[in-house]
Symmetry: C2
Subunit: 189 residues, 2 copies
DNA sequence: ACGGAAATGTTTACTTAGTAAACATTATTA
DNA sequence: TAATAATGTTTACTAAGTAAACATTTCCGT
């Protein structure tokens, strides 16, 4: 009710997150967010320098969200289950995933912490691959790591696209239901 | 000079294509395109129903552009060279690639020919994979095909992203210079 | 407790962008 | 050649991001 709201910043982020999750980042606009928070259109600018700053904040949340799930995996779980987690995250949170891994026009150099977050997950993957193929050269391990990364993210893209187009073939259904098997069969064979 | 320009539609597409290629789809806006064509802001709407229609047109061009190059590959060229072509296309025409394969908010069902174009290339890939692993089941061939598609598109995403971030590691340099070898080593091994 | 500075919210207003509607001109065709 | 269709222009509306000036509240040092 008061002129000053406590935690307005957090509420704005929360509201934006919900919209983005349910509708996509394109649907997030200041007027709507402000209105849902019961606040004037420009109140936002007391807490963020620009809309891109809000995007960056949502991306941070996205990484946290993704990592929360990954933390629950045991080290001795297979690389496949690790990859499957990524893929499921992408399929279950398509708009958040787009926000995080789409070609954002965001200038990442302005948000170095985001780069770090994104690198962190790749480094984890490299460790996993190293354990998976212990006798290989450093270079081969890096190559394989990039390959795994590419396969996983590429698959999310395909599944999302074809799902959206209503083109889900039997094979895709199978892949989606058996992500671990799929990964064993292809990427980790 | 006259009131009616011949080929205005084509000129608009051409101009939009150039902007998109050099700058990205986000930078394409009606006022700029119209101005470059020496025409009023809304002349556009005599030729397209909406900006999305223009996007669809550019995507069609993108597919043609991509396929022109692929046609030049011989059937007996390896699957790797086929994949490498895709990847190079993505790296050399990042903004066109984004337009074609990014998560466009475009409702594809409104542009069925685009879906067909995009499916055509996948079907070609399936044929290639079939030749590559002749004794496998239909299902395994489909699975592998999706995997190849995912790897190729995923790799473009990574290379683009890390290049943009200035994070190109030695390994990535190597991959980029030796795409065929990379693909043999990972996806087609 | 008090007076001003810092923080936070509001109002107003400007800018860019997509696009609809009404109008003007040229091209086409019966 | 007159009617009609096609194509271009003008005007204007709407949505969205955001800057600037103003208002209110909080907080801190005295």
């Amino acid at each position: 009710m008061g002129y000053h709201k406590k935690n307005l910043k957090e509420r704005l982020v929360e509201i934006a997150w919900e919209i983005c999750k349910a509708e996509s980042w394109q649907k997030v606009n200041m007027r709507l967010v402000a209105q849902k928070a019961g606040v004037s259109t420009t109140a936002f600018y007391r807490h963020f320098k620009s809309k891109n700053d809000l995007k960056a904040e949502l991306m941070r949340r996205g990484f946290q969200f993704l990592y929360e799930g990954i933390k629950e995996l045991n080290i001795d779980d297979s690389l496949s289950s690790y990859g499957a987690h990524y893929i499921r995250f992408g399929l279950e949170n398509p708009h958040i995933y787009d926000l995080m891994f789409g070609n954002s026009d965001l200038d990442m150099s302005l948000y170095p912490d985001l780069e770090a977050l994104s690198n962190a997950s790749f480094n984890g993957l490299v460790e996993g691959v190293k354990a998976f193929m212990p006798n290989k050269s450093e270079k081969d391990i890096m190559i394989k790591s990039y390959n795994v990364w590419a396969s996983v993210h590429g698959l999310v893209g395909i599944l999302r696209r074809l799902e959206w187009e209503g083109n889900k073939t039997e094979t895709l259904e199978w892949i989606e239901k058996n992500l671990e098997d799929y990964l064993e069969k292809t990427t980790f064979s």
